[in-house]
Each structure stands twice: as structure tokens, then as C-alpha cells.
Symmetry: C2
Subunit: 421 residues, 2 copies
Amino acid sequence: MNVHLLTIGDEILIGQIIDTNSAWMSRQLNLRGLRVTGKSSVSDTREAIVDGLEQAARFADVVIMTGGLGPTKDDITKKTLADHFGSGMSFHQETYDRMAAYFAKIGRKLPDAAVIQATLPDDAVLLTNKVGSAPGMWFEQAGKVFVSLPGVPFEMEYLMSAEVLPRLSARFPGRPIAHRTLRTAGEGESNIAKRIEAFEDSLPENIKLAYLPSLGQVRLRLTGRWDSDPVPPDAEAQLGALLDAKAAELLAIIPDLVYGYDEETLEQVLGRMLRERGLQFATAESCTGGHVAHLITSVPGASDYFPGSIVSYANSVKENLLGVRPDTLVHFGAVSDETVREMVAGALTTLGADVALAISGIAGPDGGTPDKPVGTVWMAVGNRNRIVSEKHVFGRDRTKNIQLAGVYALNLVRKFLLGQV
Amino acid sequence: MNVHLLTIGDEILIGQIIDTNSAWMSRQLNLRGLRVTGKSSVSDTREAIVDGLEQAARFADVVIMTGGLGPTKDDITKKTLADHFGSGMSFHQETYDRMAAYFAKIGRKLPDAAVIQATLPDDAVLLTNKVGSAPGMWFEQAGKVFVSLPGVPFEMEYLMSAEVLPRLSARFPGRPIAHRTLRTAGEGESNIAKRIEAFEDSLPENIKLAYLPSLGQVRLRLTGRWDSDPVPPDAEAQLGALLDAKAAELLAIIPDLVYGYDEETLEQVLGRMLRERGLQFATAESCTGGHVAHLITSVPGASDYFPGSIVSYANSVKENLLGVRPDTLVHFGAVSDETVREMVAGALTTLGADVALAISGIAGPDGGTPDKPVGTVWMAVGNRNRIVSEKHVFGRDRTKNIQLAGVYALNLVRKFLLGQV
């Protein structure tokens, strides 16, 4: 079952927007065992759309189009599709009424283009868009499926989740497929690969392991497919149990690296742990300049466990608000074990926290010395009884250094709460 | 002159990475008057690459490929291209030596795959990669150009800027083209369009205006093309002078919205203004949770003008560190004009700043009331003599509310420094 993704519209071609839709769709399709074998982008002219469709359909069983359905461009894509699939167009009262109700609900005037948007191909199955105006359209021709969706990401995501993916599963029933993702932080892909080599080699044929790296983190995704016929009624349960067992095996090899599962982010895991323990957590940031506080407060409800942060970019702020001793700064420097430990102690007192994190480093691109090159970052976490610290030397890129320091620091706090450091 | 962008590799097809390369390349090509008429992605198999090339070359004069050149995948893409263009392959000592020198410089071991990476098609013009290992390749066939580049963004960007774009300009000389971009903040696309409608209508045929929106900001790009023959020697200077005049006209209509030009971001503009004025600037953030401090410190050298920030998520921090009166919090609430004004006064004193910004709001998704719905944000800026404040009501999305508050707040500080508020 091959899928081709076709984006329609000049916004992508001129580089005005980055195509995040295709990556999201690919991941969702892959998770259900549907393989994306090609992607393409065409302009919103009749000729380009028809050519794009014809090329896409050469190798694919399903073509999913996004874009070209906005109120001003409506005509071209929709009419082109109707003509291409030999369908007439009619005004669709039900769609018009739903759009009117939708715009009333969000307190906006129904656009003049609503009549045009509610004029739809007769032969398309309409996919009801509950989060926007233009409905999706589902055509079938010569055993192949062609789907047209709006390009606005949250409308596309809604229609894919609520309509397209369930319909595709029903239209092309396959064998069960399931996934378990372990999220790791603080170790690179190749080092993880070395540690779990024997595990990976021992996996049965029907379970694959994928490495999904991002800055400072690697997600390990186990994908299991049922690979024999007939498929028994409890196949999904059997597959799930097998994956759970393999995920547990994997965890047992790298318990120090795994911080969570599936979609839960590091800042969400940390927030959950702080809430469960009833702890107040504060930060004192120098080189990360507020980035860590921003990560923590990106989680809804963070005010339950996060009183605040002191971003102490200047040494005077480290001294006055965090109680770092001038002597410490003179003798050891702002980027030192001694300074981050004093910052932790200061943050606990000043912000009234049970646990505090401190970070001080040289983000770059300037400010490095032979002893402390750009990318050197000291971080410490502690409570009233105990403080632990770590030194890292990241790279030369300011933005990456700030982001890497954020990941390593949150992970350090997590390990501290678990008594692992 | 039509260009097709072809990405090679499964990372894009399975959605493991978002294709940011294509958008960057499209913008750079567009800026030079080269039109991207199609984009596609194929798997890194011989059949898929050849089919992708053939389809791309149907309508394009130039095909630019990215990806498929990594040390492990090297063979397939490079050999496929050599075969397709009827070229042999040879070991290329100069490339090998350059790679060895490059790896020595970054202090890493030369990979075993270096010999393979230095084995290259005889008929390709090699594009020297000074920031990585694999060189780019430039083929010509039947009057068309085919370029193969590594997929790593900074290597691709280096090779495009240093090699591909200058060669394309020389190979397909066109008429002069030039751009001027005005950056605005705090007003939506449609409202800007209304204010500058007469200006837009008055533009000569050879100057186009593009709206490039992002969250809270719109860039207005004027593109001028020389549209007559012969092209005089001073055509570029004439075009530049015309664009400068039009940019000045546009600025005169919306002086309140324009904060900068071309590639300079809002946080860079603000940083430059603070440095020029010799001012120390601090922030006190509640709902933005450190995001504004993070934006300010994302600019290298921010320590010259930014002593720090107090992220006062809890009311106790607002009281203890910023001196907000308990009475104020009880009577007006944490999200109020009164509170943000007291936060500014507190930040000036506590952080030793000349100018301070304060923000308090309801980021959501919960916490709204009928009087103060989710998305309500109060912000204030001031010095020892004067404080001004603004209230905004953004939307329901937590992430967007935090980002929008950041843009509006930085812009408010900018206007305060200019005496515009």
C-alpha cells in the first residue's frame, strides 16, 4: 500500500512556508503501516495539479493532497479535481449551514466566499471539517483513492485523524501493527547503538527498532507487525504483550538513559514528578538566559510546582539576588563548579524552593578561553541537604549550546529526584 | 528559467526530519529571479532516483538534488548519477586530502568511508565543500543543469551560497533583480494591506510587493526587476535607487509598524538600540515564563545590555523580589495594569536596570474568567521617570500566546526607547 503526498500551492514552492504537514502525515501513516513512497509540490494551476496527480498515481494506491482550498483559490483546485474525476459540482446546503454555524461560534463574519466553498464535487465523499471551513474530499478512481485536504496544519491534522486514517484502515485492511517508544536523553545515537547491539540483533523478524534523534535526545521506537495468516482475534493483544516485553528488556539495558515513553516530553515528565512529590522547583540561569524556565512553563499547570527563575546574566545579579560570593567569582570565575553550587543555594532561599537548578556557561560564539572553550557549561541541582554538579563541553553554535544545556539540565534534575545522581 | 528541487532519502519520506532545506533554497533562488516550479522527494534506491530525475527534467532547466550523499549511502546516489549521465568514477586525491585536512582541523578521525567519498564521477564539476566532507557535483546534459548537494543544512547552505548560486547566475544570465524588506510587528496582514492599498496600486509594473507573515510579524518585501533591453551598465544602481525610494515611501505610510530591515530580527534591533544608548535593560516575566529573556539572550553579546530577568511565576516571587504590594494582587489581580507597573518598578531596582519590561497574563489553556479570558496579557515598560502599559487579548493556544506576547513586548520596549509610546 503506497501513499503519495502532493502539496498544492505557491507558498511551498517560493519557500514562504516550511512544509511541516508532510512530515506529520508521513509519521501518522507510517505508524499505521502505510508507506509514503513519494512526495511532490506543484503550483496551483490546472495544468500543474493534473500533472502532479497523474505522476503521483503512477506508483501510489493513495494520493493525499493538501492546500489549494483557501477561499481565494478554491475554484482552481476543486474544479480541477471535479473535472479530472468526471464529476459535476453542486451547492451543498448542509456544508454551507455548518460553515455558518462554525463562523458564528468563533464570533466571526461568514466570508463572502462561503457559497463558493460550499459548492462541491458531486462524486466526492465529503469529510466534515469541524475545526475550519473547507471540507475534505475523498475520490475513488480505478481502485485508487485520492484525498484533498486543506493546508492549514490543524485542519489537516483534524481531518487526517478523524476521517482519513480510519477510512484508509477500513479501505485497505492490513495486519495489526503497534509501537512502543522509549525516550532517552544525554547520550548520542552511536553510543546507544553500541550498548543495545545485542538486544537489537536478538529482535525477532517482525519487530524493528528505529532511532529518532533530536538535539540531546534519541527516541527508540519499537514497531511490531503481525506477520502470519490467519490473523487471530487476539493478535493485537499478543503483539502488544510482545512489544511490552521487548520494551522492558530494552529499558533494563539502558535504565540510566530512558526518561519516558511515547509522546511525553522531558519537561512534562519532570513536571509530573515534581507534582507527584509536592515539590517546588526553581531555576537560576546564566548562559541559558531563561530558556530552561521557558521549557518548564511551556507545560500547562507549571505554576503548581514552579515559583520562578532568576536569570542572572550579570555577575552583580548573581551576587545580589543569588548570594554568590564575590570571592568565588574572582577565584573560580562565573563558569565554575563553585559558582553554580552557590547559585543553587541562593535560588533555594531567594525563590523559596525545595529543589533548584543552576546553569552557567559560555554559549558563544565569543568568550571562550583555552581552559574554558566556547560550549563549556557547568550545571548543578540540589536541595537543602545535597548539591550535585556536572560539567559539559558542547560545541561552537550558540543556539545549539543553549538548547543542549536545557536538555541536559532537565535530565539532571530528573535523575536527582530519582536519587540516580 | 525553471528549477526543480529533488530531495533524496527516506528520512524525509518517513517524516523523521522536516524538509527545511527546500524552503531555504526556494527563497534564495527566488531572490535571484530563478523560479522553483516543482519539488519532489524520492527514496534512495536507484530506480526511484532515476525516475525522480527524469520527471524533474521534463519541465525544469535546472534540477537541484539534496541528500543521499552520507558516508553510508554514498554509493547509490553517486553511482546512479554517474551511470545516468554516462560518466566513469575515479578516486580523487585532491578531495581526499581536503577531507583529511578538514577532519584534522575539527579534531576527528578521518572516517573509513573517506576513500569512497573521494571516489567521484569524472564528468562532474566538483563543488568544494569547505564545511564538510562530501563535495557537491554539477552535471550538464542536453542544455540542462543537474546539481547534487549534501542534505546537511549548513553544508547545503554553504555550497548553494558559495558555488551553486553564483554559477547559476553566470550560466543563465538574466536581467538585474533586487529586493528591499521592511519588517513590521504588531499588526495583521489584512490591516496592513488596507493601510498601504494606494501605495501598492501605485507601484510600477516592475516592482512587486510580497507579504511574508509570521506570528505577530509581517515582512513586506519589495522586489524590483529590470524589465527592458538593452540593460545599461548602471541598471543595478538605478534599480537600487528606485527600490530605496519606494521603501522610503512605504515607511512614511506605516512608520509606527516598521521596526527594521532585511535580516535584522526584533531582538537584534532592540539589542542594537540598547547598546547605542548605553542602557541596561531587565525583564520581569510571569506568563511568558522566561521566553522574553531567552529571545534577548539569543543575540550574541547580550550581556553588554542585559543584566537579567526575574521570572515571577508565583505571587510570592512578585512580592518578595519585585516588591509588588499584596494589596495590589488582592484588589486588581496578578494580571492587571497595576501589577505590571509595580513589576517594572521592582525590576528596575532589584536588577539594577535603566529600563525594564514586565509581563503578566493568562497563557492558558485554563485559568481564564469572563472578565479576563485566556489570552489576556498585560505588559508595561518604563524607566525611573515614566511607565507605559498595554493590554492585549490573544487567543486560546498557550504556545502562541507566549510567542505573541514576546513579539508585542519587545516591540513595546522598542517604541518606548524611541519615545513613540
